[in-house]
Subunit: 340 residues, 4 copies
């Protein structure tokens, strides 16, 4: 069958299409005919040696890329009782984080990072590593969910979210746009930043209450505080990293929350002081995607609220390198999808 | 000034209009010119001796009735720093439950029950016992909030509410209708029961996803379970009491929640077994209105989601006895309001 | 190998020793040479048709009895990565409740109830259904933990337990004695009831701060309230059922908690009113043993605090019927253990 | 009456004894005859311009120093119902943070910082700003509690503390020593660091399970991880600041907690990266003393567990400057107390 490999930490040129053996399934395994995939910034880090430092691409290449994919069950092992042939499924980002609190052992089960990912025609999963996709979703729509949407879900649902609270999204990447949609479904007030007025207009159409162009407002954290009657927001979906962290802390209310997700911007030599979090009694919460139980709870919210993911562009399985280039350009709004 | 008294536990005839002294205010007090009031089933119990057994109507009559009222600040004591003249406010049900967990001492500060209520032209409150009303609300709309809406809010927000969860409301009284509106603002799925198809139609217009006529379906709990794929609901807003408790437990999912609010129906000699809650690992949570902090958080949700209370009928201050009779008839959908 | 069966719902005479086939293990299974077992009231209900109504003894007899047992790993399937030969383990009460909230599906995995139990010389478990036992424990000590101790642990750790809070235990059965020990390890104040001054003396030796003989004090709930400065306790470990529920509610403080565990006493026709829980804003929490994650957290607490289970009597594998008779007599203090 | 003032941000020489007017009390106020006080590092910052940037010493000097003091009620206003003459009390650090989540407004009520402190013979408090001290405590013992002990309490009780978890204390200052005592009362495993073997020996006497001399072990975070079977601790009581933050994050387990308290050490130009918290899914929780409700809950734990504060040295009211010098020397273990 067709698959892609990252042959080692050699940059985008190390991404190679290969002819791979058909996967075998054990008694608890499920064979999935993959129909669609989606991409995340994390995937861009893999050809360059990985994200965390212990990814398979570095530790034991080659590695099959991508955490996000959906498909149809085509075979099941004899002990499988969670799925049957014909079921429509997606893989969980952490194959072993089923519920409760993440453990070190479970971190080692991240698709397309610690272990091989899903960019192949067929993939064998342990039945515990799969979820049913929302009933009304296409495979393309479902493929957008495992990493970015679950990350946004965990960031919004830890703590004590309440309708009427205000949440701040930074930029219009995949996580931010999902967080915007979920926050509106939660009855929250939403503020979002971007450098592009066009992207802010699209955010408004998705329900953003306040939009801030951070090119025009270098001190956007002041605008955030002004727009919240001087109080600040209840939760910041912090995807920027070192370059925005101080402003995120300034944007949060006393006893508020900064959900720490990304490492996209900033000079690591200019780290912000975490001490600022002290005098505001902030909770700075590291968010690392989420558990299978979170994925399933999120899917219920998607179905009840008829939410639809925002898909930026679709590429074919033949054009995977072009999809990586598009991701690298950072011009997208919402998700980049690969389809067969 | 004009006021009403319940002269003692003598039934509705003990409700009397009186000419009362103007209230005096201390350094931390706020004088409010009352503009509107609303009624709750609890108010109906007061002329009959009270609800809990230690209400002022029995302990030390006469008692000024009603917990729910809104108005405008007309004078403040010299140490008041939370409000100023002209502010639009409502009294908190428990004058002393500001935040955190309810204590026995705070129970003794319930307006129109443990202490005098608000059915007078002017009322003096300690500044801690008031909240600002939603900016876009009329006084009549704001008067509906202190008891029923805050009760619904606490019932929905304790535990870990998430969009996508399912919540069941019993009947279409004040608490149930507010709970329906809040649950929709939370992105939840809603099921509501009534004996009237007309009321169910109105509930659907407010966003109810599933409606059940319990006259037609005596075993409505089975319908609830069917409509939740055999799983049951995440939260039951249980306002019925002994007459519905077993069905509520049967309606809840394993590890679900029954929010215990009311004592409206049923024969106290036929109590249900609380033991049924054990094998489903249910949380049966007694809900007793809520704190001032809950009231304020709710008002933010009301503003962000532009929620409007459902007002059944308005009576004038002259027609208070008629308002009590209408409440007694139980024909209303939403709130009964008194206005000047 | 030797095993016991309950041949059907025929009372204690339906308990029979049998010669059973050796268990086979699949790739994820672990074969355990059982060394010790312990008994719970629930086990007494099984020969009489079961506890919940859908137990295997009724649905599909015969059934191997007992949920609680410990032993040594003697073989592992090829995919097993959680245990190795020689490990000392105990089975988790619910084989499939690993972490998070209990689900209906997981209830169906209760050892010695929904499915066969562990009273056999060798038992095959899926590796997910086992935990390592505390390092310093004998097999006999470890065998006391899966049902009663985990139940006590969950009852004490849900909610927000804090040192300095007061917890009330009813009687001196297995759950109550574990709860007493855990509550002291938590730095809590403890009150315990019994009809026997001798048992109360033993409870005092285990750290009980207040002991109440409920034969001498029929209104023991009044003593509880007196001993808590009129406030009531933070948590009641309610193992009695209908016969004590009203007194438990009277013993709890406002905003307190009743952990509902047992169905031991009382006339089901005289059910208490759950409505009493409303006006005290109580949380009545159904407790049904606990998850594997709870079991593991409890074992850490046991090791750090060097807690030792109280073993009442040990019976040999030959004398299982005598163990059941002793359990039925209800004369024990702590746990009844069976050993090889 | 005698009092001390900090006349402005002029260093320790701006500390001056003055003759002050007797305080007047309003209807809700309580006059306290102060008997003892204690000191915190924060108090050392005040003569140098304050801690947060908006302290009264800078904004509007002079300022009465110290947040921590205890005494006896000698007069009450006519509306006071929480205390009576003769009661033994201590002031709450935040006079207005009674319960629930800290707000910006409440931060402005910090004794000896945002507002005048308690280093005077008599102080008038609003009754809401006082708590009863533990029954068995001397005034000197009680004076140690308001800042350091409540800080330690909040740091240990947020999140979901459980007996058996492991907590790491950095150094042997006031907060760390209280945290050590509370953690043991919680049944937790404790690890503590110091540069002094003598202080570590004293910590062992207080119950420390593991002690690490960070002079001998510059990579003490590795020792912490080794001592926790490679997993890391559940909670780090991080009082060091920038100089230790990275090591604290390395010491925490996946899904663990770093309780951020202090700003004692380190070069602010070498800030650690908060991003490290992301991949371990840590909660970095800013801790800013605590609410009155926390203070009261802590006092119950102190009484039940018969905990005693560790007092390093006592100075007389005449020798306040010497007390400041001793604090500055950082040689103490436990609390520095001032007494009349």
């Amino acid at each position: 069958m067709r698959s892609y490999h990252i042959t080692g930490p050699g940059g985008l040129k190390s991404l190679t299409e290969v002819q791979a053996d058909e996967p075998e399934i054990g008694p608890f395994d499920v064979l999935v005919e993959m129909k669609a995939w989606s991409m995340n910034y994390r995937d861009l880090a893999m050809p360059y040696g990985g994200y965390v430092g212990n990814d398979k691409v570095k530790r034991n290449p080659p590695m099959v890329p991508l955490s996000d994919g959906s498909g149809e069950v085509v075979a099941v092992g004899k002990s499988v009782d969670r799925f049957k042939v014909g079921d429509r499924v997606a893989g969980a980002f952490f194959q072993k984080w089923l519920d409760g609190e993440l453990t070190a052992e479970q971190i080692g089960s991240a698709l397309g990072g610690a272990i091989d990912g899903v960019l192949a025609e067929r993939v064998a999963f342990h039945q515990d590593g799969l979820v049913s996709i929302p009933k009304t979703y296409s495979f393309e729509q479902a493929a957008t969910l495992p990493c970015a949407a679950v990350t946004a879900w965990q960031a919004l649902t830890l703590g004590n979210p309440r309708p009427g609270q205000t949440v701040l999204m930074l930029g219009t990447g995949g996580v931010s746009v999902f967080a915007l949609q979920f926050a509106k479904a939660f009855g929250m007030r939403t503020i979002i930043t971007s450098s592009s007025d066009e992207k802010l207009e699209r955010a408004r159409q998705l329900g953003a209450d306040i939009t801030i162009n951070y090119r025009e407002h270098a001190d956007w954290e002041r605008v955030v505080v002004e727009q919240t009657d001087g109080i600040g927001v209840d939760n910041v979906i912090e995807v920027g990293g070192a370059g925005t962290f101080e402003k995120s802390i300034a944007s949060a209310k006393v006893s508020g929350r900064v959900s720490l997700i990304g490492v996209l911007t900033g000079n690591p030599d200019q780290n912000p002081s975490p001490m600022m979090a002290l005098f505001k009694r902030l909770t700075v919460q590291g968010i690392y995607v989420g558990s299978r139980a979170m994925f399933e709870a999120m899917n219920r919210a998607i179905e009840v609220n008829q939410l639809r993911p925002v898909i930026d562009t679709q590429f074919s399985f033949d054009d995977v390198p072009a999809a990586y280039e598009h991701l690298k350009s950072a011009k997208h709004f919402g998700k980049i999808v690969i389809t067969r």
